[in-house]
């Protein structure tokens, strides 16, 4: 992208840029307040990997995230394309709840290492991940730098997506069954329960959605480890 922006770009970099632009389209801005541009993206809800890819694409197009609200509302300010790299990490404990100690210690380590944390506000059900930016001029940026840690991180992400997806699916089904039971045995209208089930099913979908991609990444990483250990 930097090559594209420079005056001495060649044909190869220009065509690569065109290909990238075809893959990634800049979102429509919802609001603009001074230098801060805001947009909504529901697809990124509870999906750290997708959020990281999206934010890196935005950074390479010259937009630096300054705040994430409710996991779906992203605010950006202009920056030099490719000036920063974005990485994310899940900050939940063994039982899937927000791990304040982990988040705090990681944020301090990242700050000491020259990275800055993108503030998140109005998070639903607690903040579950850190979004960090680091200037590309400071060198390569990885929060999880070795194969074993990467496997651990993606295993945790998959476990989190699987268990919360299953939990909300179970609650949704239970709600629906209870609703049908109440409808059949009394005059309670089915519509009293149905919308609640839809909410639970939607939550199950949103939480579970990234799990297959995490599984694919885990399989690849484990294969890499098998090769390196052979």
């Amino acid at each position: 992208m930097m090559m594209f922006m420079s005056s001495s770009m060649n044909a190869a970099s220009a065509s690569a840029e065109q290909a990238t632009q075809k893959e990634f389209k800049l979102p429509k801005w919802k609001s603009i307040a001074g230098e801060v541009y805001t947009m909504h993206n529901w697809d990124l809800q509870y999906d750290l990997l997708a959020a990281e890819e999206f934010l890196n694409n935005m950074l390479s197009c010259g937009w630096r995230p300054v705040c994430v609200s409710r996991g779906t509302k992203f605010s950006f300010v202009p920056c030099v394309p490719g000036e920063y790299t974005c990485r994310t990490i899940l900050t939940v404990g063994t039982y899937g709840s927000f791990d304040k100690k982990k988040a705090g210690e990681l944020a301090e380590l990242l700050a000491a290492d020259g990275a800055c944390i993108v503030p998140q506000e109005k998070t639903w059900g607690g903040q579950t991940g850190l979004i960090a930016l680091k200037a590309s001029s400071l060198g390569s940026f990885e929060i999880v730098s070795d194969l074993d840690s990467r496997i651990e991180e993606y295993a945790l992400r998959k476990k989190y997506a699987d268990s919360l997806g299953a939990l909300f699916l179970f609650v949704g089904v239970a709600q629906l069954v209870a609703g049908i039971g109440a409808f059949l045995s009394s005059d309670v209208p089915l519509l009293t329960f149905f919308p609640l089930s839809v909410i639970w099913f939607s939550l199950a979908y949103y939480y579970y959605r990234p799990a297959p991609r995490y599984k694919k990444i885990l399989t690849r990483l484990k294969a890499e480890r098998d090769i390196s250990e052979t």
């Binding site: 990681l106 380590l109 390569s140 730098s145 070795d146």
Partner: protein, 115 residues
Amino acid sequence: MTDKQTVLTEAAYYILLSLYEPLHGYGIMQKVAQMSGGRVQLGAGTLYGALSSLVTKGWIVEGAQYDRKKEYQISSLGHSVISNETARLAELLANGQRILRDAVEADTQADTEEG
């Protein structure tokens, strides 16, 4: 109790080595980078995970806390682990060097005889 068969990851090995003096998180990252000539750059997540695991195993201990920064130091158990691991690596290295040297010598001898 020390497990003599413990195989350390590169990150864990360097972290243990760096903690012969008390260091906080970022100090460990810098020390490891310095020891490995910049080759091993520990990410914050990797370091956090490794420190939690090493503390749980009792191989390092948490020390004083200055300005919200916690210091860590190697324990006697950690010292035994790293001694065993260093001996294992030394054996690997010695065997590797011996076999490679023999192979090179055999090649040279074969070349001389052909010539």
